[in-house]
């Protein structure tokens, strides 16, 4: 095993002498690159965003923007990282930096390096489609959702949007553009130990399962979007961390005749781009799931693995009738997602067991919708999340799967509501009756996100909205 090191702005820096829980943000700042900022330490503000060279979908390498505050520094062993300082210099600004500067995109400047990195990732996205102007997209194909995880308190965003929408395509000689044509750094096995704590990246899935079998208290991590919050906000310090996010076996997406199988360690962004709208319910989910910065790291395995009752993916996957594929050193098993959750942040997952993939059965239901109730349209946690997958043939409901998040200790299927719809005509009367049932599903509670009364009301309203959408065309 070689000495762990990371290439930051073209310079290799050793990762060997740092506490295991050091974040990439603290690491780059301690190295003297103080452009990346800590604004929240929980992946909500994007002031820490940096670029990482990762295997791409449309080019061999893509520049992916990530929250450096959530990533363990050890996780980028062998990788290339670019910070705002590495994009350009004050006297030779990068085109993204230039656009932000001249258009008034910075006021206090504290969020700016993070915005610049998020914007640069979109600038370098090879499949940015200039004909894709419209809702949340600029005339240059810039997807505003690329910046949904960056907060600015000064500008009101208009000049930042204008800067983003003014960007052209990178010139041929741009070194970061040409870098995309070469493969990204291959995964390397990593082991960093300090103060009795260890960060471990195994080379293969069997290696990972062996470690988990021998030391079941080891914490497996993938995207680290939850791990980082635990470290920074809750002071968690696991003794052994096992990185599984680059295991090839967990990064496949296969479309079979009877199911789509999605690797547990693919990022949500990768899944979104690989599916390319072929699962409409998920296509509706992804832009509403956290922010691009988070989706660039977060995985379905992680989302189900931590078992949060408000994980948006669960509501959608429950509606799709998904199954979870689990594996440990002894073997494999498949569990319907509806049976997976057993309690608040608890599941059937055994110590030493990993989620390897999520299987979505085919054919898909023709009528699907994902309704997220939250305070903010981009990047918020759901008060209620509802996934619908219905088959309405000849005006009659032939199949109904409804997944709910945020209304109980676990995500759950709305079985009673499904029964109230099944084999009944898809009419206002049926819906009104089913609304009463749906309002009573789960045990919604009062908290700082919403009142129990509102949550219950939103359950009922979601069905009314779906009915209106399917029967009245465009809602309004």
């Amino acid at each position: 095993m070689t000495i762990p090191q990371v290439n930051v702005n073209g310079r290799w820096l050793a990762l060997s002498d740092i506490p295991v829980h050091t974040t990439l943000l603290d690491f780059v700042r301690d190295s003297g690159l103080t452009g990346s900022k800590e604004g929240c330490a929980e992946g909500e503000c994007g002031a820490c965003a940096v670029l990482v060279a990762q295997p791409g979908i449309t080019t061999p390498t893509e520049w992916v923007a990530v929250n450096a505050c959530l990533l363990p520094a050890a996780s980028v062993d062998g990788q290339e990282v670019i910070t705002a300082e590495g994009l350009g210099r004050a006297d030779a600004l990068h085109p993204v930096q230039e656009a932000m500067a001249v258009r008034g995109g910075s006021q206090c400047g504290y969020c700016t390096p993070g915005f610049v990195c998020g914007m640069a990732a979109e600038y370098y996205r090879a499949d940015r489609d200039c004909t894709h102007a419209g809702q949340d997209h600029g005339p240059n194909g810039f997807d505003l959702h690329a910046l949904s995880g960056n907060l600015c308190r000064c500008t009101g965003y208009r000049p930042i949007r204008d800067a983003a929408y003014s960007l052209g395509t990178p010139p041929a000689e741009d070194p970061l553009a040409t870098r995309r044509d070469e493969p990204a750094a291959a995964p390397v096995a990593t082991e960093v130990t300090r103060d009795g704590r260890t960060y471990l990246r195994p080379r293969t899935l069997p290696d990972a399962l062996r470690v988990l079998a021998e030391q079941p208290e080891t914490a497996p991590v993938a995207g680290c979007t939850d791990w980082g919050v635990g470290v920074n906000i809750h002071g968690r310090r696991a003794d052994r961390v096992l990185a599984i996010d680059r295991l090839a076996e967990l990064r496949e997406l296969e479309v079979h005749a009877d199911a789509i199988e999605i690797g547990a360690a693919l990022s949500l962004t990768e899944i979104e781009r690989k599916l390319d709208g072929s699962v409409p319910l998920l296509a509706e989910l992804f832009p509403q799931f956290a922010s691009r910065l988070i989706r660039n790291r977060a995985t379905l395995g992680g989302n189900l693995g931590n078992g949060s009752p408000i994980g948006d993916a669960s509501a959608a996957l429950l509606a799709l009738g998904a199954e979870v594929l689990l594996m440990d050193s002894a073997g494999r098993r498949t569990v319907p997602l509806a049976d997976y959750f057993t309690g608040y942040r608890e599941s059937v997952l055994r110590p030493g067991e990993l989620i390897t993939s999520i299987r979505i059965p085919l054919p898909l239901a023709p009528v699907t919708a994902f309704h997220k109730i939250a305070k903010r349209r981009f990047d918020d946690i759901s008060s209620v999340a509802i996934g619908f997958a219905l088959d309405i043939t000849g005006g009659v409901v032939r199949r109904a799967h409804i997944g709910l998040g945020g209304v109980a200790a676990t995500p759950l299927r709305a079985y009673a509501t499904e029964a109230a719809l099944l084999d009944r005509p898809w009419t206002a009367d049926t819906v009104a009756a089913a609304q009463q049932v749906l309002r009573a599903e789960g045990t919604p509670m009062d908290d700082h996100r919403a009142s129990a009364r509102y949550r219950a009301a939103m359950l009922g309203q979601s069905l009314a909205k779906l009915h209106a959408e399917t029967t009245e065309g465009a809602v309004g």
Binding site: M100, H448, G460
Partner: protein, 778 residues
């Protein structure tokens, strides 16, 4: 036009240039206070011990366990304070309290070799407490008679007679929330004892002088032994006017006791649970209108939620009272103010400083009463505008109403308001589940510190022998573009290109006795001082140039770095002129000073002319509300704003847009929730406290500056732009109210909670909808 307002030939002011640090911002090279920590050798890290009780007496504080944690160097407690154990100006904010006054109050601080060591040390400190009864909400405090500070009353005329003469009298109650500043850079300070035994504190502070004074009194030193520097802030918004002092004092105390640099940098969680926020208010009101909807009488009681200490609550309350009129003439008024003392973080300055809260009360009243009066809100608002020559309830003449009416008319015409209102009516008639609405807001906001003495500023300008210019002034840069404007003012006043002038960071040993960079007056007063210093220098240089050019000094002009005499082609380059001045032993450095003229204020009678002038703006917002969920979008915003003759248009437009979105955040999205039992802040990080992101940006956002309105008596004819635009966002809230009402029968008066979250809007529209029989679904 006064000499202060007049612009010379080819001025740098008025040119739309990017922020002076824009290149440094975008390339990650702009340094903030905590970025400096790594440059100092042997820096210690400070971590607070926060106690999870809303109100409790400390019966024991055991710090020994912390000292046993590897890497912990020292624990700072009250016993360590050589001076005064107080971090405020009213002696009600002990730096190390013996009584916990809010959930998360820091009672001592641990210094460690690493932040991790300090954190673990803080966790090891043992605090025993005896819980005491706590008051969390304003209604609880009112019921318990828990108040602090004065109880000002603003009166004019005879309210009882006013009500008697009113055709319509309404009354109501309205409680609305405060707001977290959420500057992206949390509180930070870095202190060390320098090579001359001077205490040198780098602080993210809007008020370096007060930070200096508090550090000095905590350390038992005099002000000349402490220097405070503010390089720049990653946002302030008022949150760093009063709040930084204690954190700077902790760093300074640690540095003095250990002899090592000490860094304090709050995590977001610490910042949100420890530092002050915008005041939430409770109001109770009674209002009278004549038959045509003209306001006749207002009787109101405003109670500001001051939190645990007085802080800036008294001047905030004064400004709230002074802005309850907004742009409307109130013949008979009686408004009484109270400051509740609650067991929460100390409410403090926040952009608008009480003005938004006062105005929200009257805009809410008009929004609720318009349907009851049967008058369209825009008509009702316009009908109640002041006329020039009338005075405010506190006795200040109003004489620029034509600016406001011009802006109002421009928004109506540029925003195509009438046609859009017809389109909205047609849309609403055909869309049962979605409603749109459009509302307008006028803003009239008083500019100057309410307290007259604060309206002064200083500057220090050096011209070096090579012709380069270095300026210092007392204002701080928090992103608002003050330094950009000051560079433009200096270049204009000296007649040199912008590139000739450089600005040095704000330091108390360069310009002393400064006021906070606050109250929107940063560029007015510091610009006046910078210009004053530059004018002195230019006059001296005119004398020198006059001799060389063979002309009278009055006939010399310096433009773009070249001196000429009127009617002559002979030129003298700036560098030559400066060199000549040096050899003639002409002083090339000057201290500038400015005091705002014409102000007076009697806090007892609540009468006077506290403001130099009023800032004006008008906004219109169109929203769309989803009847299923209460979710909404802002479709379009049009703003016309009066910034006088802008010093820096790109900066001012940025202030207007940013202020508007921040105001809309306060009114719609940003939801401070406190646990009513424990007093714990429930929305204590951005995962739960949502501030506007891209999704809240108006889809169409048109902002223009009112043209040809130079302000006499203000630096280069400009006006303030910092706080005023925040209040333009009331139109978003009123549009949401009207959209909610559109779900009900015509004439429905809607009560809307603030913030108007999707849930609040849903309940408002649900209430309206239930008044009609048109509900399609259950």
């Amino acid at each position: 036009m006064s000499a202060l307002s007049e612009r010379p030939e080819n001025p740098s002011v008025g040119v739309a240039i990017p922020h002076e640090s824009a290149s440094a911002h975008v390339s990650g090279l702009a340094k903030y206070t905590d970025d400096l920590a790594g440059r100092a050798q042997g820096t210690l890290h400070a971590y607070p011990v926060q106690v999870p009780h809303a109100h409790a007496r400390i019966t024991a504080l055991r710090t020994e366990p912390a000292l046993a944690v590897p890497g912990v160097v020292r624990v700072l407690t009250a016993a360590d304070v050589p001076g005064v154990n107080d971090s405020g100006i009213h002696h009600d904010e002990p730096l190390f309290p013996d009584e916990v006054m809010f959930y998360g109050h820091a009672v001592c601080w641990v210094l460690g070799e690493s932040l991790e060591a300090a954190r673990l040390g803080a966790a090891a400190v043992e605090v025993d407490v005896e819980p005491l009864p706590a008051l969390i909400t304003v209604p609880e405090a009112i019921a318990a008679g828990s108040f602090q500070g004065g109880r000002p009353v603003m009166t004019r005329g005879d309210v009882d007679a006013g009500f008697a003469a009113s055709a319509h009298v309404f009354e109501g109650e309205f409680e609305f929330a405060g707001q977290e500043h959420f500057y992206l850079e949390t509180h930070a300070a870095l202190a060390q004892v320098d090579e001359n035994d001077q205490i040198f504190v780098q602080s993210s502070t809007q008020h370096p002088t007060e930070t200096q004074e508090i550090v000095a009194h905590v350390l038992g030193l005099r002000s000349h032994e402490v220097t405070v520097q503010c390089l720049r802030m990653g946002g302030g918004f008022g949150g760093k006017e009063m709040q930084p002092h204690g954190f700077a004092a902790i760093a300074a105390l640690g540095a003095v006791l250990t002899g090592r640099p000490v860094r304090v940098r709050l995590s977001r969680l610490q910042d949100m649970t420890m530092s002050g926020k915008r005041h939430g208010f409770h109001s109770r009101w009674r209002v009278g209108f004549d038959a045509e909807g003209r306001l006749q009488a207002l009787d109101a009681t405003l109670t500001a939620d001051g939190g645990w200490s007085l802080d800036l609550s008294a001047p905030v309350l004064s400004r709230a009272l002074c802005h309850i009129d907004n742009a409307y003439y109130l013949p008979h008024v009686r408004v009484q103010g109270f400051i509740a003392r609650t067991n929460k973080t100390s409410s403090t300055a926040f952009r608008g400083f009480g003005g938004p809260q006062g105005m929200l009360v009257i805009e809410d009243i008009l929004g609720r009463c318009a349907p009851l009066l049967g008058i369209d809100p825009i008509t009702l608002q316009r009908r109640n505008f002041y006329a020039d020559g009338q005075t405010t309830p506190y006795g200040q003449p109003v004489n620029q109403m034509t600016r406001l009416t011009t802006a109002w008319d421009q928004v109506i015409s540029n925003g195509d308001i009438s046609a859009r209102q017809r389109e909205i009516a047609a849309f609403n008639a055909t869309h049962p589940h979605t409603k749109r609405a459009l509302a307008m807001t006028p803003v009239k906001f008083g500019i100057s510190f309410n307290l007259t003495a604060f309206n002064q500023a200083g500057a220090l300008v050096h011209i070096y022998k090579d012709g380069s210019v270095l300026i210092n002034h007392g204002g701080t840069e928090m992103g608002q573009g003050l330094h950009t404007k000051m560079l433009q003012v200096a270049a204009t006043a000296l007649g040199v290109p912008l590139s000739t002038v450089r600005l040095a960071p704000t330091r108390t040993d360069k310009v002393p006795n400064t006021s906070a960079t606050a109250a929107s007056v940063g560029s007015d007063i510091n610009g006046g001082a910078v210009k004053n210093a530059c004018d002195q220098l230019r006059q001296r240089l005119h004398e020198v140039a006059a001799t060389r050019l063979g002309a009278h000094a009055h006939d010399v002009r310096i433009v773009d770095g070249v001196a000429r005499a009127l009617g002559s082609n002979q030129t003298l380059e700036w560098n030559e002129l400066v060199k000549a001045a040096y050899w003639q032993r002409v002083q090339l450095s000057a201290a500038g000073f400015y005091r705002t003229e014409g102000l007076h204020w009697n806090a007892e009678t609540f009468q006077g002319t506290p403001f130099k002038y009023f800032g004006h703006g008008v906004a219109a917002a169109e929203v769309e509300v989803d009847g299923f969920t209460g979710a909404y979008r802002t479709r379009r915003v049009d703003i016309v704003h009066d910034v006088g003759d802008s010093l820096s248009p790109l900066v001012d437009i940025g202030q207007i847009e940013g202020g508007f979105v921040q105001g809309a955040g306060w009114l719609t999205l940003e939801d401070l929730r406190w646990d009513a039992k424990t007093g714990r802040l429930l929305t204590q990080t951005p995962s739960t406290y949502k501030l506007p992101s891209f999704s809240e940006m108006p889809e169409v956002f048109n902002v223009s500056l009112l043209a040809d309105v130079p302000e006499d008596g203000v630096v280069y004819g400009s006006k303030a732009s910092g706080e005023v635009p925040l209040m333009l966002a009331f139109c978003v809230r009123e549009a949401l109210r009207q959209a909610a009402a559109a779900f009900g029968p015509v004439g429905t008066s809607v009560e809307l909670a603030s913030p108007a979250t999707p849930e609040a809007v849903y309940w408002a529209l649900d209430t309206a909808r239930n008044r009609s029989d048109v509900a399609a679904y259950g």
